[in-house]
Structure formats: structure tokens, C-alpha cells
């Protein structure tokens, strides 16, 4: 096992004890990137080579000089007896939806391909000042609009390290794939409907979407502002806790960042689950959707192996003393995706207004007659199909004559989704749950090209994750085994506002309990080449 395969907390211990230097760790990670990542995503079209289809392609921009300077600084600080911080020397990647000063911040879009941010996003800045070594910016769906990474303008898009013919999930696909393949122990991602948890499940890593407001959004290029959550992708639960310690907390640059004190999430990992009430809901063991042709409500069961993994996890937790509460009703779960279709697109269409070719980013090179033509051509040429569809839909459902029927109605249904959670977590209610245990995704990683293009079906990949975004509550996805095809399965823990410490503790207990199981020793296939 190479240094780059260690967890962040293991690396911090080794580096602090001076058993290895931050530079040695960096060299190990750079060697891994060189071995498995293949060429970085670019705007050039072109056929995929044999090597391309076997590589991870997590990176858009590798910032090796920045990383080296940071690693040297960590080593210098340790030499001088200074404390580099809780992430001392940990190599990390940043989803390319966050601004990092002096670094291209592309959002995976042609329209921002030439944009170099003049400031650094709060969570990225907090990681760097905690001693993290920033390797660079990793790929994503364009503006985070997708669940497979395939919509990125930077191709080849990221592939799943467990099986490169499969998608890594998305939109934080580059983040999840990088963490899984040893290309940085931690990654800063974002989750608007499941964009951290779904790729974490697909790539067999831990993904935490914190409570809305737990982590500042300053510097996160916005998609659905009322849903977007920065969060962690990590190799184990303790690493997620370590990283959350660093990035959580109020921020004077973000008025929606909650003024709630930050507990030590690492300290609260131990203690087990005895007496905790863990719920299972039938509404999370099927996918319910409205047939696009007939409008009828259709129900499909989720993959049997995933259901089995959730029930097995429940069994482990029960064996450790947790109370399992079955048949918890979550009646509004099925509206999560339709509501998301409306709310996120209204916000997205507005958030994309600023990309007009006037100030930064892409401007059409063609001669134009007037300003509206410059807007039209710059946006038509700069945006890919996903942003365009979201702009059209968002503009439509927020138009004066439709907003009552769609947008305002969606907001009311969103409240109902929130109420489902309020009821099951109410400490004086009938369920009094500490957490709801669910599958993270209805399927494991699907083949590249299989679903892309059908944005409705693609969206249902998020049905089990999106309710947490509507409600603003935290959700944690942890690896829970593999399916017959050898693809990772994730299970999800949902809890009330600011219950991250509880979710992490349950996740950590489950990890301890399953530590010796066979599947824990498996390695992604790209590492076996």
C-alpha cells in the first residue's frame, strides 16, 4: 500500500511524527495521478483512446506548484516547531465549482473555461490554512448539472475507478473518483440533490452533505442557491469528521451560514449506537416517478442487492444495541424530484444570468450587430446542453403567468417534504428517530452513455438523496459492500438539522463493526493495472 492510499488521519499522524514528510506524501500522490488519471479534461473534441477509456480523468487542472509550495511549508513549519493545522500535509482536491485564487475555476463549462478566480472560496481557504495540500481542481457535470459527470465540457469526463466503463456518479464525480483512486485523501464537493452522496456511493467512498448553512457557500459557483451544500468526500468516516471540523462554521461572507457552534466531530465518533433509534422507511425502497408519456405514477423497486445491503447494515447496528424502527412513513418522498425540477431550475436560470460575455468568461469571437446579439451568441456558444435546458425550464416556471402554478406550488410541496422529516425526528413524536437509514442510490454505477441524454431518468438517480436538500438536513453516505458486478453500494444516514456528529458516530460504528469483512479489503480496478 502506498502513502497515497492512506487516510487523512493516518497521514497527519505520520507527518506530525515526522515519520514521513509532506513532500514525500505529495510525491506519492503525484505518482498515483500520473499512473491512473490519464490526460486531464479539455475543451477539445476527439475520440477516446484505449488508454483514455481505462483512466480516471478526475482532474481538470493539476496545481502541482501550489501543492509543492504548500507541502514544503508544512514541512518547514514542523521543522520550526510550528503547528501547520489539523490537515497538516493532507493532499486534497477541490471540485472545480469552487473558486481558488489564481487557479482556473471553470465549473466544467466552456463559458468559464478562461476564468481565473481572484479570491478563494471559504471552505477551500479553511482547508489550506489547516495545512492541506491542494492538488488541483477536479471534474464535474457542467455547473454541477448532472449525476454522471458526462455533461462536463472538459472531456474525457471522469470514469469510475472500480470499473472505468461505468460513470463515477455526479456531479462531484471527479472528487469521488479521486478519493477512491488515491488521488488525494479528501475532496471538497458540493451537493444540491445528491451530488456528494451519489458519487460517493458509486465510487465506494464516504460522502457527507452537511446541514444547509453548516458550511459557507462563499466561493461556490451557485446552482440552486437554496439547496447547494459544500461537503466532504473522504476515504472513511473519521476523515469526513476531520475535514468537517475544518470547513464548518459561520462566515462573515455568507449570511446563510449558520451561527451555530461547531462541535469536535472527531471526538464524538466513539461511543457507539446503543439506544439510538434508527428508522427504515418503505418510501425509500422504491423509486416512484411520473411517467413522462402518461403522467401516471409508476413505482419501481430499487436493486435487490442495495436493499439487502441496507437491511444488513440495520442488522449490524441492531446488533450493537440500536433500536430499529420499521415502516416509518415518508409520504412526500415521491415529490422530491418534481419539486427539485422546478425550484432548482428557477434558481439556476437566475444564477446563470451573470454569464453574459461582458465581464469575464467566454465571449463570442464573431462580429455582432448589437448587445442582445452578443448575449445570445456568447451564451449559445458558451453553455452546454444542460445549462441551456435548465435556463429554459427555469425561465418558464418562474414567468409571471406560471410561477403560481409551478414555482410557488413547488415551494409549498417542499415544506411538506420538510414536515415528513420534522415528524420522524421530533423528540416528542411517535418515531423519535436519531436517523433514517436508507439506500443512497436506487442502482449502482451505471454504464457510461447509458442514461446520459435522458435528463428525466438521470434525475431519478437522485430521488433518495434530494429530500435532504429540500429539507436542509444532513445526509451521510457510507460504503456498505458491493453488488454482483463488483460495484460499490452506498447506504445513507439522514438526521435532523445539525446532527452531523450523530450521523458520523453511527457511520463510524458501522465501519468498526464491518472492519474485517472481505469487501473492505477490495481495491479499485484501476489500481490493479
Amino acid at each position: 500500500m502506498a502513502l497515497c492510499d492512506l487516510t487523512a488521519h493516518q497521514l497527519v499522524n505520520l507527518i506530525r511524527r515526522r515519520e514521513v514528510s509532506a513532500v514525500e506524501v505529495l510525491e506519492s500522490v503525484l505518482a498515483r495521478i500520473a499512473a491512473v488519471d490519464g490526460r486531464p479534461g479539455t475543451l477539445e473534441d476527439g475520440d477516446l483512446s484505449t488508454e483514455d477509456v481505462q483512466s480516471v480523468h478526475a482532474f481538470i487542472t493539476l496545481t502541482e506548484d501550489r501543492a509543492r509550495a504548500q507541502a514544503l511549508e508544512v514541512d518547514r513549519q514542523l521543522d520550526a516547531g510550528e503547528d501547520p493545522g489539523p490537515l497538516a500535509g493532507v493532499p486534497v482536491t477541490i471540485k472545480d465549482i469552487f473558486c481558488v485564487q489564481g487557479t482556473p475555476s471553470t465549473a466544467g463549462s466552456r463559458i468559464l473555461a478562461n476564468f481565473v478566480a481572484p479570491y478563494t472560496a471559504t471552505p477551500a481557504a479553511r482547508m489550506e490554512s489547516a495545512g492541506a495540500v491542494t492538488l488541483g481542481k477536479v471534474n464535474l457535470d457542467e455547473f454541477t448539472y448532472g449525476s454522471s459527470n458526462e455533461s462536463s465540457a472538459f472531456q474525457p469526463s471522469t470514469r469510475n475507478p472500480w470499473n472505468p466503463t461505468r460513470v463515477p456518479g455526479g456531479s462531484s464525480g471527479g472528487s469521488a473518483a479521486a478519493v477512491a483512486a488515491g488521488e488525494g485523501s479528501l475532496s471538497l464537493g458540493t451537493d444540491t440533490a445528491g451530488s456528494i452522496r451519489q458519487p460517493a456511493a458509486f465510487c465506494g467512498v464516504v460522502g457527507l452533505k452537511p446541514t444547509y448553512g453548516r458550511v459557507s457557500r462563499y466561493g461556490l459557483i451557485a446552482f440552486g442557491s437554496s439547496l447547494d451544500c459544500p461537503g466532504t468526500l473522504a476515504r472513511d468516516v473519521k476523515d469526513a469528521a476531520l475535514m468537517l471540523n475544518v470547513i464548518a462554521g459561520p462566515d462573515r461572507h455568507d449570511g446563510t451560514a449558520a451561527n451555530v457552534s461547531v462541535p469536535d466531530y472527531v471526538d464524538s465518533l466513539e461511543g457507539g449506537v446503543r439506544g439510538m433509534r434508527i428508522g427504515l422507511s418503505p418510501n425509500y425502497f422504491r423509486i416512484t416517478f411520473f411517467d413522462t408519456e402518461t403522467g401516471e405514477l409508476r413505482k419501481e423497486p430499487i436493486a435487490q442487492e442495495i436493499e439487502d445491503a441496507v437491511l444488513s447494515a440495520a442488522g449490524h447496528l441492531a446488533a450493537m444495541g440500536a433500536d430499529i424502527v420499521e415502516d416509518v412513513p415518508m409520504p412526500h418522498t415521491k415529490y422530491g424530484i418534481p419539486v427539485y425540477f422546478v425550484v432548482s431550475r428557477v434558481e439556476a436560470a437566475s444564477n446563470l444570468h451573470r454569464y453574459d460575455g461582458v465581464k469575464y468568461g467566454y465571449r463570442t469571437p464573431d462580429r455582432v450587430e448589437d448587445l442582445p446579439e452578443m448575449y445570445r451568441k456568447s451564451r449559445a456558444e458558451g453553455f452546454g446542453i444542460q445549462p441551456k435546458m435548465r435556463i429554459l425550464m427555469g425561465m418558464y416556471v418562474s414567468a409571471a403567468q406560471y410561477s403560481e402554478q409551478y414555482y410557488n406550488r413547488a415551494l409549498r410541496v417542499r415544506t411538506l417534504i420538510r414536515q415528513d422529516f420534522d415528524q420522524i425526528f421530533d423528540p416528542t413524536g411517535p418515531y423519535r428517530l436519531d436517523t433514517l437509514l436508507t439506500p443512497t442510490t436506487p442502482t449502482t454505477a451505471f454504464p457510461m452513455g447509458d442514461v446520459y441524454g435522458d435528463s428525466v431518468i438521470m434525475q431519478y438517480a437522485d430521488q433518495l438523496t434530494v429530500p435532504a436538500n429540500h429539507a436542509g438536513i444532513p445526509g451521510l453516505s457510507i460504503p456498505a459492500g458491493f453488488d454482483q458486478a463488483g460495484l460499490p453500494i452506498g447506504v445513507q444516514l439522514l438526521g435532523p438539522d445539525f446532527s452531523e456528529a450523530t450521523l458520523l458516530r453511527i457511520g463510524h460504528s458501522y465501519e468498526m463493526m464491518t472492519e474485517d469483512e472481505e469487501w473492505r479489503a477490495r481495491r479499485p480496478s484501476v489500481l490493479e493495472l
Partner: protein, 478 residues
């Protein structure tokens, strides 16, 4: 031909005088600063930035709402007003829409030559300003300095009935904004901008007819002239049997004409929705009460009290309550003087106001404090100095910043009332000017003023001119 009356409503944009902008920490006032010198990632709408509300903006908005007797809403929201324009860097303006800061309210408008008109205030909301675009040498240049400067938009009901009333509304509003110290309200600098909605109807009708909107009438003269011109145009059109169309017009102040900007057949759809990047504004009783402790007595209330309490003529009360620090000055001076407030008012209106105007400062900024003014008037009253020395002391105190008593002592300005000393000077003047004495004694007694002047000069103004005159007459007729 029926007689028509005008129906006018005004929409004003008021720039608040906060130190920083509404959603970032850039300097708010960029007057005379270089273009794009007060900007940051937030106010230029770079990818990923978020607005953070400047509380002072809410507080100043609440003060204005209270002064307008409006209902301050315990819960209000920011909204995005979406449209494309190069000087709008985010592609939307953060404003308030269906849940504004305050609703309802009114302003009383005493007309100089008539009864008081009450103007309804429909709503009052906070928003950010956009940047400025200018065309130069075939290029479109954008200055983002003004982006994020805090504005309050205030909309009146259709309650004004003439161009003069509209102008009076702006005059009173400007006075009030300065009184509340929430805006510099300098129209030339765009601190107070006005759009006017104008329609006409047969007198006595209760209906409202098609209105036109006049944009950018940004001086009091422009408000009066543009509205007057539009009322006349509409009257001509209707009299000729033509229909009024819902145009948007622009006032060309130099040419004195209205120009059509666009027909307003289709309303733009701004796709308003609540701004998810900002929490709603919650104003609980405690915060509201805390803000309202800064709400001063308002000009019209103070004017009424001055008439009542100090027995001032309406004319004096009007002038003394035109500006808040002047009215505060008056009250402090009266209380220091202790008696006869009309006498203080006379000194203030005749002499101190002249100083204020000449020096282009506010009463509150004078070094000549109200206590010093009271001291000077008292010195004149008790004969320590004569009236003209008293008046000259005003500027001396203002320039030196020293107390009048000190200056009188330092410069030996106290009135010479020692008859012997005055008589000696008078005798000296008579002796030195035999020709003038001859003239006087030849019957041209009007020359006495010249003799008085000579004596005053020799006494460096300290002699009492009345005493001097009597003494000279005595000497010359001897």
C-alpha cells in the same frame, strides 16, 4: 371644454448615506472617485460570491418608514429582479417585491399658498443600485462603483394634483431625508431620483385614466417643468379628441422637452423570486424600538411646537425648522439666553444664517456655538458692547473658536462708556478738523455723521455712537 385636473404619483429612489454598500464592504459614496475604484468580487457579481446585508441600511430604511408613518413589516424578503443589462453584473438586481420593508403611510405637504395636501405612501423597499454605462468613441464603458449602493424606493399614491405639489413633495422629502440624516439627498449627485406618473381627468371625476411615466426628473425645477409640460400636452391631446397612450417619456432638461423612450404595451417579466442568498429581514419589537430611539422630532411637528412654545411667527418657525441642526441650534441658544426667543430668532435669521450660507456649513458645524451666540446677545443687551461690535463678534468667534468674552477682553472691544475719555477724543477730532467745524457751524449740520465716524475710528469702535453724537453736538454748537 371641461376643466381637467392632474393626477400625479411619484416614485423616488433615495440613496442612503451608509459608509459601505448594502451587500459588501466597499465604500458606498464614489463621488469624484475614479471609475471602478470602489468595487470587489461581491458587487461586481463574480462567480461564487454572496451578498451579506449591511444592517445600517435596514435601520435607515426603518427610520424613513417611521417618519412616513408607514407600517414597518416584522418580516420582509429580498427578491431577485432578473434582467440583462451590462451594468447589472449579476444579471439580476436584489430588491424587494411582494413583501417589502414597509407598507402604507403618508406625508403631509403644507402648500405655501393653500391647505395641506396629504400624500399616501404605498410602499417602501430596499434595493441595490446598478452601475453606470456611458458611450464614448463607439465604446460602451461601464463603471461598477455604484453597484450595490443602498437605495430605498418609495412610491406615492396618485395623490398629487399639480406640478407645484409634486415639486413641493420633493422639497419636503429632501428636507426630511437630511433631517433624519439618512441621505445627503443631493439631487445633482443622484442621491434623490424621481420618476413621475402623470394622467389627467375631468375635474370632479373619480376615475383614473391612462398615465404616462416620466423618467429621470432629477431636480426640483425638472420635476415642476416636466410635469407641467406633460399636463399641458395631455390636455391638448384630450381636447383635440386624441387618446393618451401609456408612453414612457424622458425629460430633456436643457431643451425643455419630453422625449418618448418607449411604448409600454408589454410589461417586462422580471421573474421575481425570493433571494435565496439572503435571510429574510426580521424586525422584532426590540430591534424596531432600538432603531426608533434615533427618530427625532419631525420638521412639521417641531415647526408647530416652535410657534406654540416660543410664540414665533410662522415665517420664523418655517425658516428655523428648515434644517434640523439649525432648529436644534435655536433651541439651545434660547435656553442659554433665557428670555425673548424672538430676539434670538432675529439674530439667527439675520446674521447667523448669513454666516451659514456664506460659509456653506450647517448650524451644527459652527464654532460659534448657540451658547456663544446667547453670550453675545447678552453683552449687547447689558451694554458691554454695542450692537455693531456684537455683530462683528459673530465672525470673530467663528474664526477663532474662542468665547466672545475672551475675544472682547483680548482685543479690548468693550464699549468705552467713560465720558471723560470720549469727550477727550471728541475734542481732539474737533480740534484737528477746523474746516469741517466751519462747515458744520455754517449750517450744514448733516456732517455730524462724519464727525461721529472719526471718533468711532479713533476709539476703535468701542465708543457708544449715541453718546458720541450728543457730545459732538454739544462741542460744535459751543
Amino acid at each position: 371644454m371641461p376643466e381637467y385636473e392632474a393626477i400625479i404619483g411619484l416614485e423616488t429612489h433615495i440613496q442612503l448615506n451608509t459608509i459601505t454598500k448594502v451587500f459588501c464592504s466597499c465604500k458606498a459614496d464614489s463621488w469624484e472617485d475614479l471609475p471602478n475604484s470602489n468595487i470587489c468580487p461581491v458587487c461586481t457579481g463574480l462567480p461564487g460570491v454572496l451578498p451579506v446585508l449591511n444592517k445600517a441600511v435596514v435601520e435607515k430604511g426603518v427610520l424613513l418608514a417611521a417618519a412616513m408613518h408607514a407600517e414597518i413589516q416584522p418580516l420582509s424578503f429580498f427578491d431577485r429582479k432578473n434582467y440583462f443589462y451590462p451594468d447589472l453584473p449579476k444579471g439580476y438586481q436584489i430588491s424587494q417585491y411582494d413583501m417589502p420593508l414597509a407598507r402604507g403611510g403618508y406625508m403631509d405637504l403644507p402648500m405655501p399658498d393653500g391647505p395641506t395636501r396629504q400624500v399616501a405612501i404605498e410602499k417602501l423597499h430596499i434595493e441595490e443600485d446598478a452601475g453606470k454605462t456611458k458611450n464614448e468613441d463607439g465604446h460602451r464603458l461601464i463603471d461598477f462603483n455604484r453597484c450595490g449602493v443602498p437605495l430605498v424606493e418609495m412610491v406615492t399614491g396618485p395623490d398629487l394634483r399639480s406640478a407645484d405639489e409634486a415639486a413641493q413633495y420633493i422639497i419636503r422629502l429632501r428636507q426630511l431625508l437630511r433631517w433624519l440624516e439618512i441621505s445627503e439627498a443631493n439631487m445633482e449627485r443622484g442621491h434623490l431620483r424621481c420618476d413621475a406618473n402623470v394622467s389627467i381627468r375631468p375635474k370632479g371625476s373619480g376615475e383614473l385614466f391612462t398615465k404616462t411615466e416620466i423618467k429621470n426628473v432629477n431636480s426640483i425645477v425638472a420635476v415642476r417643468d416636466a410635469i407641467q409640460t406633460e399636463i399641458q400636452r395631455q390636455t391638448r391631446e384630450v381636447s383635440a379628441g386624441n387618446e393618451i397612450k401609456a408612453w414612457t417619456l424622458e425629460w430633456d432638461e436643457d431643451a425643455g422637452v419630453l422625449r418618448k423612450m418607449r411604448s409600454k404595451e408589454t410589461e417586462a417579466d422580471y421573474r421575481y423570486f425570493h433571494e435565496p442568498d439572503l435571510l429574510p429581514i426580521r424586525i422584532d419589537d426590540a430591534w424596531r424600538d432600538d432603531i426608533l430611539t434615533q427618530l427625532p422630532e419631525l420638521p412639521l411637528e417641531r415647526r408647530a411646537r416652535f410657534i406654540e412654545q416660543y410664540d414665533l411667527p410662522e415665517y420664523d418657525a418655517n425658516i428655523l425648522t428648515d434644517e434640523r441642526s439649525l432648529s436644534d441650534y435655536f433651541e439651545t441658544a434660547v435656553s442659554a439666553y433665557g428670555a425673548d426667543s424672538k430676539r434670538v430668532s432675529n439674530w439667527l435669521m439675520n446674521d447667523v444664517l448669513r454666516m451659514i450660507n456664506e460659509r456653506e456649513i450647517k448650524a451644527g458645524d459652527l464654532q460659534l456655538t448657540p451658547e456663544y451666540l446667547a453670550e453675545i446677545i447678552k453683552m449687547v443687551d447689558n451694554g458691554t458692547v454695542n450692537t455693531s461690535t456684537g455683530k462683528s463678534l459673530l465672525d470673530k468667534v467663528e474664526d477663532a473658536g474662542k468665547s466672545p468674552t475672551q475675544i472682547v477682553e483680548d482685543e479690548g472691544l468693550a464699549k468705552v462708556s467713560d465720558e471723560g475719555a470720549i469727550r477727550a477724543i471728541c475734542a481732539e477730532v474737533v480740534k484737528e478738523n477746523p474746516d469741517q467745524v466751519a462747515t458744520y457751524q455754517g449750517g450744514k449740520t448733516s456732517i455730524i455723521g462724519w464727525f461721529v465716524g472719526q471718533v468711532m475710528k479713533k476709539s476703535r469702535g468701542k465708543a457708544d455712537p449715541q453718546v458720541v453724537k450728543a457730545m459732538l453736538e454739544e462741542l460744535l454748537s459751543a
